[in-house]
Amino acid sequence: MTDAALTPAAPARGAIALPRGLIFVAPAVLLMLAIYILPIVVLTGFSITDYRLGALRWEFVGLQNFRAAFQDPVFVRALANTALYAVLVIPTGVFLALGIALLVQGRRHSRALWETAYFLPVTATLVAMATVWQFLLHPTLGPVNAAITWAGFDPVSFLGNPALLIPTLALIGIWQVLGFNMVLFLAGLTAIPNDLLDAARMDGARSPIDRFLTVTWPMLGPTTMFVIVTTSISAFKVFETVAVLTKGRSGSETLLYALYLEGFEYSNTGYAAALTLIFLAIVLVLSIGQTLRMDRRVHY
């Protein structure tokens, strides 16, 4: 570690700095206890009880809540829906964004314009934009179906047909994530030295596709991994569009929405705590490797 280099060790100052450092971190440590550590402990406690908010009596039920979760058709459906959503959003959201980034990168004059256009959905309030999408996709009043009918097909009931609910949410999810991923890919592309591309050209990689496959794609490896991980985490957290567009009707619950209903609408605190831990486990599996890598990148 480089600690010694950062704070050159003069014994006298070390002695003074010791309590001072603690005073500086005290507010953050107290908040960390109140917002992270205590809640996680309490959450784990809830998950092995049948506690309901407001109830006077509760009992330990061991792992009953977890067993119940995997036998609960609603929760299993929510898991399956979220997985389907992720499977639709991740590949499209990642590779389409890569394609856009490759095209945008080559534009010298218009780059800012394209960046703005594709990034705009990222900043927009999703709850409001979901309402707009609802109208856009309306079977009779929306322009999307007007275009579909004009092309000679039957209108599509995006938000009426139960089989299309999750794919429609995924469509909106992709729309929102593209600009974010595009910017991450642009940063990754900028970091690739031009010499490498020139060298590849000399070595006979004439077509852009050859150069992409021999240089760009391998060099983008870490960026692509990062983009895939962040996209999957946000896919598993899909909530706003569900809350506005489907409210879980026709079996379209997602993980977080099912969790929200159990914990905050039905007040099944103990059961919802078990669901929360399952949700947390999924997110941790997706994010731990990534966070460790981010930490390492910072250290060296």
Binding site: R20, F24, P27, R107, E115, L120, L184
Partner: protein
């Protein structure tokens, strides 16, 4: 052709990306009678922006939602900066017992999404009768481990010699932290502020849990409430409401595109 084709593809894609915004604005200035007009022609036959926006603002307290958003985002950001900056300074430049442990906790907490903490925090707030307050809306976000992480990273590159010299000159450690070191990291502060404000202006999950009183609802919750009330009866007003709620972030983005993109994509850890 090779020069035009990329522009053509990008243009087509951008048109699809921007369609929802265009449709939102267009509908918000069209008369309700034109609802069956699915054309994308930009000039409405009957310019009804005043009625639509007026109705959106009178059906629900739009201005109130916006004000609530400003209060909540502002409060969160102030406390986040006040607590994260000294902690990051100590982690970057001071020695104290438990420093490594704290850093490990910060990294660990980076992986934990807010939604995993919501249930116990909600129970705690309910038991202390603090639901439906601004405090309840802001409390879970008072500590930003991401801010600590980011500022520490940025503070570490601040030259130790200057800190030494400042100590010799009698600067207190607080002054060094806020007036010297933080000043050297203003771009990080700007990027973090954008990140924080955008995230909390747009957040629905937590307000939905702790707020039922519309008088203190932030914009996304207000929008959800509005779209449930209107439920498709008046798309003009609904789109006007959506436009009002998305406008602040979009305007800021268009005005400060660079720092916005830097702020939001600083992390995937949202």
């Amino acid at each position: 052709m090779r020069r035009v084709l990329p522009h053509l593809i990008l243009g087509l894609g951008a048109a699809l990306m921007l369609l929802p915004f265009y449709w939102m604005i267009l509908t918000s200035i069209r008369a309700p009678a034109e609802i069956f007009d699915v054309s994308l022609w930009p000039v409405p036959r009957d310019f009804s922006a005043v009625q639509n926006y007026g109705q959106a603002a009178s059906t629900v307290p739009m201005a109130r939602f916006m004000l609530n958003g400003v209060i909540v985002c502002g409060g969160i950001l102030i406390v986040q900066v006040l607590t994260a900056v000294p902690a990051a300074y100590a982690l970057a430049k001071l020695r104290f017992p438990g420093r490594r442990l704290l850093m490990a906790l910060v990294i660990g907490a980076l992986c934990i999404p807010m939604q995993a903490l919501a249930l116990p925090l909600f129970v705690g707030l309910a038991r202390t009768n603090l639901l439906n307050t601004y405090f309840a809306q802001m409390m879970p976000f008072f500590l930003s481990v991401f801010a600590i992480f980011l500022f520490r990273q940025s503070f570490r590159s601040y030259p130790d010699e200057i800190i030494e010299a400042a100590r010799m000159d009698g600067f207190s450690e607080m002054e060094i932290c806020w007036r010297l070191v933080l000043r050297g990291s203003l771009p990080s502060l700007a990027a973090f502020s954008v990140f924080s404000v955008v995230a909390h202006w747009n957040d629905l999950y937590w307000p939905l849990i702790v707020v039922s009183d519309m008088a203190i609802a932030p914009p996304p919750l207000g929008m959800l409430f509005f779209s449930d009330v209107e439920s498709g009866a008046n798309y003009g007003a609904l789109m006007a409401g959506a436009a009002m709620i998305t406008a602040p972030m979009i305007l800021c983005f268009l005005l400060a595109r660079r720092s916005f993109i830097a702020g939001i994509t600083m992390t995937g850890v949202k």
